[in-house]
């Protein structure tokens, strides 16, 4: 019986261990054979990404191996794999996460003329370990019926008495809120941030629950008057398969906060080259491709995000929302303040 179980264990090892191994031997065989590859760990699972990867393969002959999973899982995975990691490129949403990957020593600095000349400096890590590829703004949406845009001004004002029991915002477990808080800590200081968190908790129309779209639906239904959401969710709702979501999306308008002050909080989805990338050159080429004009045009049309390339115009819907002043805070700061942001949320009782 022992023999059987041993045989079984062995065969399982061979069955499954191989998959990983073959992948590996592939990369190491790169130098000898001519098969060029780039291994991409990505959090984004949009069809448009697939399309761009295929385009990259066609133009360069470099095969793109995609691994799709949640960012936190990918980061934990890379951490565990350490030097043995097959990952060349990490793509994820939110600078907070990219900064986390950097702090864990998973990324490396990249010198690239192309990237530095196309992507605005504030969307690049201070040590050039990650680069923004698309932008999204975290904005206030308000009920067209009950709120006049003149009543709105800044994120800070969300804590004002005027909005008592009117504000809808999701849970603090969410990275978008954590990054917003991180930017508030950076712009206004820790003490103000603590007071702000407490004030917003007071003003919440309900306990934080659901996702960004749910906040918009709740505004449409009259549960509150204001909601804090990312821009592309509004874009998606206005193009939704679900007629009810479309209806909810149409009942709100977008307001870009802090136009008089620091500017609206923006965030990115971005990419970095893995510390132990077996195919570093290909990795850099891959990211450069994603920042190129042609790729940026595809990004701009697909997911209602803002392109980072200065010469590429955003989608029509986004243009209709008008231009706005962005917060110029270097996004690296979001990662530095992430943990403090978490602690402040917990202490303020922001679920």
């Amino acid at each position: 019986m022992m023999k059987y179980s041993f045989l079984f264990a062995l065969s399982m090892l061979m069955l499954f261990g191989c998959q990983n191994n073959t992948q590996h031997s592939n990369e190491e065989g790169d130098t000898t054979t001519d098969e060029q590859v780039v291994n991409v760990y990505t959090h984004r699972h949009y069809d448009v990404d697939q399309q761009l990867f295929a385009q990259f393969e066609e133009e360069t002959g470099i095969k793109v191996n995609v691994t799709n999973a949640n960012a936190d899982e990918l980061i934990q995975r890379m951490k565990a794999e350490g030097e043995e990691s097959p990952a060349d490129v990490l793509i994820t949403v939110d600078a907070g996460r990219l900064a986390g990957a950097k702090n864990d020593g998973l990324l490396q600095s990249v010198e690239s003329e192309v990237l530095e000349s196309t992507i605005p400096a504030k969307l690049i890590d201070v040590d050039k370990q990650w680069f923004g590829l698309t932008k999204r703004a975290r904005v206030i949406v308000y009920s067209k019926d009950r709120v006049q845009p003149e009543q709105l001004s800044s994120y800070a004002a969300l804590a004002d008495e005027e909005w008592n029991k009117k504000v809808l915002i999701r849970s603090s477990n969410n990275i978008y809120n954590q990054s917003l808080m991180a930017s508030i800590i950076a712009n206004l200081g820790e003490e103000t941030a603590r007071a702000w968190a407490a004030g917003v908790v007071e003003n919440m129309a309900r306990n934080p629950k659901g996702n960004d779209r749910d906040q918009v639906k709740a505004v449409a239904a009259g549960e509150g008057d204001l909601a804090v959401v990312n821009t592309y969710y509004i874009g998606r709702m206005l193009n939704s398969e679900d007629p009810e979501e479309l209806k909810a999306g149409e009942q709100v308008s977008i307001f870009f906060p802090d136009q008089e002050g620091n500017g609206t909080h923006i965030n990115i989805s971005g990419a970095g080259v893995a510390k132990h990338a077996p195919n570093k050159e290909n990795a850099v080429r891959f990211i450069e491709f994603l920042a190129s004009k042609e790729a940026q045009q595809v990004f701009a049309q697909a997911n209602y995000e803002y392109p980072v390339h200065p010469e590429v115009a955003p989608a029509e819907l986004l243009q209709s929302w008008g231009e706005f002043k962005e917060d110029d805070l270097p996004l690296s700061t979001l990662g530095e303040n992430n943990k403090l942001a978490n602690l402040i949320f917990d202490a303020a009782g922001w679920e």
């Binding site: 019986m1 399982m12 998959q19 691994t67 565990a80 996702n211």
Partner: protein, 548 residues
């Protein structure tokens, strides 16, 4: 005297500790490693956020988890017991269909039920549309909270209580009822003073399974924004990036689970349950007075409607909406990989369960047999905890192997266990061994012991007897064990999320990812396939049980 006894004991130990004892202990150790690892890790100290968590989050985790358990207890027992009692005791319209319809909620993972209900009670959700159609309006019912979560978990988990009670009522209650009739109790008295208290082991047995699932739940709680122990483990691991803190939370949860089990055992100990042997006398069904019979149908149907029909209807509605937007290629890959990994894991579970079951009986030492019971403990442990316990040691082993290979052959190799299907399947074995073990043990008990003894007398060895005699006789038990594990593996979420290899996509994870990416409509197809892949085996299993 004691010395003599001790010497005697050691002599017996030396004499009887044979290869079967070894195998038993090895298998137990094999599945026990994750737990042991967590235990030893506790001495390493908690992460730096532990204090913060205790201060701000732990009270909430505790109250939420307890509240959930309490509400689920009341609801699942009410629904499970009443459905089981009425459908075993009375004739009423549609009884036969309802009997198996009440098992089907088990085919729906509870997080999928949770997504469906969120969609129903949402703004512009199905309920609102329906009421608008009838030009009715009621205030919005908020389901995304602890109470709502408890409701969802209850309607999706009550079948555990239902199944356990049904078996009891069907086979054990006839004698009791006859006795009570002789003593002149009324019908209501009989039920509340006799049947219900006597059914306690069955009810508790069923409810403990419910409780395990409630504590294990991650997907539903996460979506509803309810912070429980399991979501806390994820937060510590991924949010704070402190596996050490996650281990502390996991250990605390384990302590609570064991405390609850011990409490029940201690409480029950003072009462003894004896039945007049194995009564094969089936409970005779009574006719229901005419006017009331549809009322009975309704009572039995409500749990099935809430737990199965309504959520499935919502999923179908979404599936229609997202039909032309579905990535069919991805879906088929996910189907193929889920089924493959489910089948491999189920086969592995059955293999180890048989190994443990038989070797522990072949070995002559009762102490070894007692230790082997710990092997079936995995089911009591939430998937997230097991994932922590598998992930960390597999990394240690990997680093060691990589180091050794590097030194000996100066070759660089990749990770052999961590993040591969091997570790994932191993974790499934740890978690679901008990699921395979129980039907096998029941099947083996039904076999007459004299059968295998006769075989030994005729000169066949243990293994030969097993292959030629016991294995063929156990075939249907093996099949049930396989199917049960298969369904559980297909539904499993938290453990799979942490341990899944990147190149493998399961239906459960796909549905979860769509839902957490705010594309709930697109989660409908993977969810529906998942439901189907659970429903078919459940119906098949019901047939199998009935035919016996």
């Amino acid at each position: 005297m004691t010395q003599i006894a001790r010497r005697k004991y050691y002599r017996k130990l030396r004499r009887d500790f044979d290869q079967w004892s070894w195998v038993t202990l090895l298998v137990t150790l094999f599945v026990g490693v994750p737990l042991l690892f967590i235990f030893f890790k506790l001495f390493g100290g908690a992460g730096e956020s532990w204090g913060h968590m205790v201060k701000y989050l732990l009270p909430k985790y505790l109250t939420n988890t307890l509240l959930l358990s309490l509400i689920c207890m009341v609801l699942t027992i009410t629904m499970g017991v009443s459905a089981a009692w009425l459908s075993t005791r009375y004739h009423f319209p549609l009884r036969k269909s309802l009997e198996w319809l009440n098992i089907l909620p088990l085919a729906l993972p509870s997080y999928i039920t949770a997504y469906a209900y969120a969609g129903i009670f949402d703004y512009g959700g199905s309920l609102q549309l329906l009421l608008q159609g009838l030009s009715l309006s009621i205030p919005k019912i908020d389901i995304m909270n602890v109470n709502g979560l408890a409701f969802v978990l209850s309607v999706s988990l009550y079948p555990y209580v239902y199944v356990a009670c049904r078996a009891f009522f069907l086979y054990q209650s006839q004698n009791l009822i006859e006795t009570a009739q002789v003593l002149g109790d009324s019908r209501a008295q009989r039920f509340f003073r006799l049947i219900l208290p006597m059914a306690r082991p069955a009810i508790v047995g069923g409810f403990i399974l419910v409780l395990m699932e409630v504590l294990n739940d991650f997907g539903a709680a996460k979506y509803y924004g309810v912070n429980t122990f399991t979501t806390g483990i994820f937060k510590a691991w991924y949010g704070y990036r402190e596996p050490e803190t996650a281990v502390y939370l996991a250990a605390l949860l384990l302590v609570i689970i064991f405390a609850l089990i011990l409490l029940e055992q201690w409480q029950r100990k003072r009462k003894r349950y004896h039945f007049a042997g194995k009564s094969q006398k089936k409970l005779a069904r009574l006719e229901v007075p005419r006017g009331r019979s549809w009322g009975y149908t309704l009572i039995v149907a409500i749990p099935a409607i809430l737990g199965f029909l309504i959520p499935v209807a919502q999923l179908i509605y979404w599936a229609v909406l997202s039909f032309h937007n579905t990535q069919w290629a991805d879906l088929f890959t996910a189907i193929f990989q889920s089924v493959a990994i489910g089948a491999i894991a189920a086969a592995a579970c059955v293999f180890f369960a048989i190994l443990l079951l038989f070797t522990s009986q072949w070995n002559a030492l009762s102490g070894v047999r007692t230790v082997s019971r710990f092997g079936a403990l995995g089911y009591a442990i939430p998937g997230a905890v097991i994932a922590v316990g598998v992930y960390m040691p597999s990394l240690v082993v990997d680093k060691w192997i990589i180091g050794v290979v590097k030194d000996l052959f100066s070759v660089k190799i990749g990770l052999l266990l961590t993040g591969t299907a091997t570790a994932l399947v191993y974790a499934y074995v740890v978690r679901f061994l008990a699921v395979a073990f129980n039907p096998l043990a029941a099947g083996q008990q039904k076999m007459s012991a004299s059968l295998s003894e006769a075989s030994y007398l005729l000169g066949w060895g243990r293994l030969r007897t097993f292959w030629k005699l016991e294995f063929p006789l156990l075939r249907s038990a093996i099949l049930s064990a396989f199917i049960l594990v298969f369904i559980d593996v297909m539904k499993e979420l938290p453990l799979t999320l942490i341990l899944k290899p990147n190149h493998i996509q399961t239906l459960a994870v796909e549905a979860y990812q769509y839902a957490s990416d705010e594309r709930i409509i697109e989660a409908a197809w993977p969810a529906l396939v998942l439901v189907l892949s659970g429903t078919i085996p459940v119906i098949f299993l019901n047939r199998l049980v009935r035919n016996e």
